[in-house]
């Protein structure tokens, strides 16, 4: 049989699918996205009351429209210029302060933020940053460059240098094996810093969220990922911990997604939980939930967030990384797609967590004893997610992606009220493939927001935002 005939037959087979397919109700699809949870409906009521009050007292500025889901699909694209001053809108979602909340609500207007963006030099055509961490003497950013894991270091967040990553003793780089590797988290303990991530087959970058599909036993990817750890004494030179199948492999999908350190041990999470006192020798135990994407140590508790065994949002705490206690998290009623919790942070006694799915939500709990409740969401359109959150005093920044554009939401009251910032010039433009943006992670230091991610298909990018006050 000729190729022509084979393709013709294959097309006819697909036509049977085409001829049977029904036209879905697009309104129903949009409505499903816009269904609000009870908490969100309460937020809407509170917002309505706030707007009415603002009308009475003359604060017309509070009448800015909600979101930009109906933004024009086609627009003139201005040349990218950096630095760019963002246009900061008033808070779009305001929640009444909880009686148990210690943080005070500031009365002054929300200050604007000036943003700059830079792209880091890479050796391949496809690179991205997935994580950033603050160290004693600067910053670490991790991700991938081509098929290999990559780490950059910086003293000030503005100038970045590439660190050296060596494979484990007797092993080869991922690229040399036709595989790829990616760094997604950092932690330091006792002068030693570890970077965690994973190595797999397939293509670079596909593991980031695409690997979730594999978790659902989809045949979309066949990456066979294994967990990976790199260790450094000076944060400039890194060596991969040699692969131990019983610790970093064995199951179909084994990835590390995040790591944190207490005074005496590292705890890494992902498709399992790992502990190590020196970063070199690790012990693996089952995850208390399903895949966990974030872990912090808050001085007392290791707190981890991700998905619970049923695939819903899951959050857990543990004093030792061994025994984990589940924490209550509000499950939005419109959850027809998994909305994993992707990062978390603590401010005072309050916890904040962010997640993916259709809405890019922020949850907050005043303390460890109460349920995490949704306090803000980026939007509904085309699957936004928030993947990073950082806190410095009462200033909080959450970052992610919405419809191929980077998203930044900020708060100056400890995460109770939020301002959404979107600038195609700075955070990415979905209408220009080379300028699409995704922001993965963020830190705040000395009043500066430093976020990392990617621009276009292959540029590792750093954004710096400074509050103007």
């Amino acid at each position: 049989m000729t190729i022509d005939q084979m393709l013709t037959d294959a097309a006819e087979s697909l036509h049977s699918y085409r001829d049977a397919i029904a036209h879905p109700d697009l309104d129903e699809r949009v409505t499903r996205r816009r269904q609000a949870s009870p908490t969100q409906r309460n937020l809407a009521i509170a917002l309505g009351a706030t707007v009415l009050l603002a009308l009475v007292i003359g604060f017309a500025a509070l009448l800015a429209p909600l979101g930009d889901d109906e933004a024009p699909f086609v627009e003139e694209v201005a040349p990218t210029t950096v630095p760019v001053t963002s246009v900061t809108s008033p808070p779009e979602n305001t929640t009444p302060p909880s009686p148990t909340t210690a943080a005070a609500v500031p009365a002054e207007p929300v200050p604007s933020i000036t943003w700059t963006r830079m792209e880091l030099a890479a050796t391949s055509e496809e690179a991205a940053l997935d994580t950033i961490a603050v160290t004693e003497d600067g910053f670490l950013a991790g991700g991938f460059d081509g098929r290999d894991a990559a780490i950059w270091t910086s003293d000030d967040g503005s100038t970045w240098n590439r660190a050296t990553l060596l494979p484990g003793a007797g092993e080869a780089d991922a690229s040399a094996q036709g595989r790829f590797a990616e760094v997604v988290g950092f932690a330091s303990l006792g002068g030693k810093t570890v970077a965690v991530g994973f190595e797999g087959a397939g293509e670079p970058g596909e593991m980031y969220f695409g690997s979730l599909n594999r978790w659902k036993n989809s045949a979309w990817l066949d990456a066979d990922p294994i967990a990976a750890v790199w260790v450094s004494d000076d944060r400039t030179n890194w060596r991969r911990v040699p692969h131990d199948e019983s610790v970093f492999g064995e199951a179909d999908v084994v990835r590390m997604w995040a790591v944190a350190a207490s005074d005496d041990q590292f705890v890494a999470v992902g498709d399992a939980v790992w502990r190590s006192s020196d970063g070199l020798i690790w012990q693996r135990a089952p995850s208390p939930g399903n895949t966990l994407f974030s872990v912090i140590f808050d001085g007392t508790w290791f707190v981890a967030a991700g998905l619970d065994p049923g695939g819903l949002q899951g959050m857990y705490r543990s004093v030792d990384g061994v025994e984990w206690i589940e924490m209550p998290v509000e499950q939005p009623s419109d959850m027809w797609r998994p909305q994993p919790l992707l990062d978390l942070a603590k401010v005072g006694q309050a916890y904040l967590t962010v997640g993916g799915g259709d809405a890019g939500r922020i949850w907050r709990a005043a303390d460890v004893s109460v349920e995490m409740e949704v306090v803000f969401q980026v939007g509904f359109n085309v699957g936004p997610y928030l993947s990073g959150i950082a806190i410095d005093g009462n200033r909080v920044a959450a970052v992610g992606e919405k419809d191929f554009q980077g998203v930044v939401s900020t708060s100056t009251d400890g995460g109770q009220t939020w301002t959404k910032e979107e600038s195609r010039e700075v955070f990415g433009n979905r209408f220009v493939e080379d300028e699409t943006g995704a922001i993965r992670d963020v830190v705040i230091v000395d009043g500066r927001i430093i976020a990392v991610g990617k621009i276009g298909v292959g540029a590792a990018a750093v954004w710096i935002g400074e509050w103007n006050d």
């Binding site: 190729i3 097309a11 697909l14 699918y17 397919i21 699909f73 980031y208 220009v432």
Partner: protein, 185 residues
């Protein structure tokens, strides 16, 4: 910096085969094109649910901006380009895949279209392994019967380039399928 996608297409496209300009309402556009676009997305993503997700999101975007998209000489060419590019672009595939997770998780329980025959599924899987332009040209040629001229307009390349992609794609496909047969034997 390149111009915006919609504008660039609007400037160059004429209606593809079978596209009437007499009814420019979105409802008619959706009724006419959705099954074809979903089929194209299915062929290029390899997953019905991901493909339908992608197709529906594209139509929602088109509807939101129909005041402009509807004025294009060929909105059908526009949405084919959007979907063909989204389906084969690795970067965008990641996003679609992420969004489609619950569809895989909570698949509809009602009537669903028939499964594609195993032999056909294997051929489309091989098509998806081709370079993205070759895969797009083959899908547009064999699924919808577009001419090289139409395809050039949809993908914003010359008919000659489309022809080159088609020929090289078929050659590569023959090699791939032959290799599969040898492995099977």
């Amino acid at each position: 910096m390149r111009a915006g996608l919609g504008k660039a297409v609007a400037e160059t496209h004429s209606p593809p085969r079978g596209e009437s300009q007499s009814d420019t309402s979105f409802a008619a556009f959706y009724a006419r094109e959705y099954p074809r676009i979903a089929e194209l997305a299915y062929a290029l993503t390899g997953d019905r649910w991901i493909g339908e997700d992608l197709a529906q999101d594209s139509f929602i975007a088109a509807r939101q901006n129909w005041a402009e998209v509807g004025t294009y000489p060929a909105p059908g060419a526009w949405i084919r380009r959007v979907v063909a590019n989204k389906a084969v672009s690795r970067y965008r595939r990641i996003q679609v895949e992420r969004k489609a997770l619950p569809r895989l998780w909570r698949r509809p329980t009602g009537d669903t279209p028939p499964e594609v025959a195993a032999e056909a599924a294997e051929i489309w899987a091989a098509v998806r392994r081709l370079p993205k332009r070759q895969a797009q040209v083959i899908a547009l040629t064999y699924l919808e019967g577009h001419s090289l001229s139409d395809i050039g307009e949809i993908l914003q390349c010359s008919p000659f380039t489309a022809k080159t992609h088609l020929q090289r794609g078929k050659q590569a496909l023959a090699t791939l399928l032959r290799a599969n047969e040898e492995v099977t034997e």
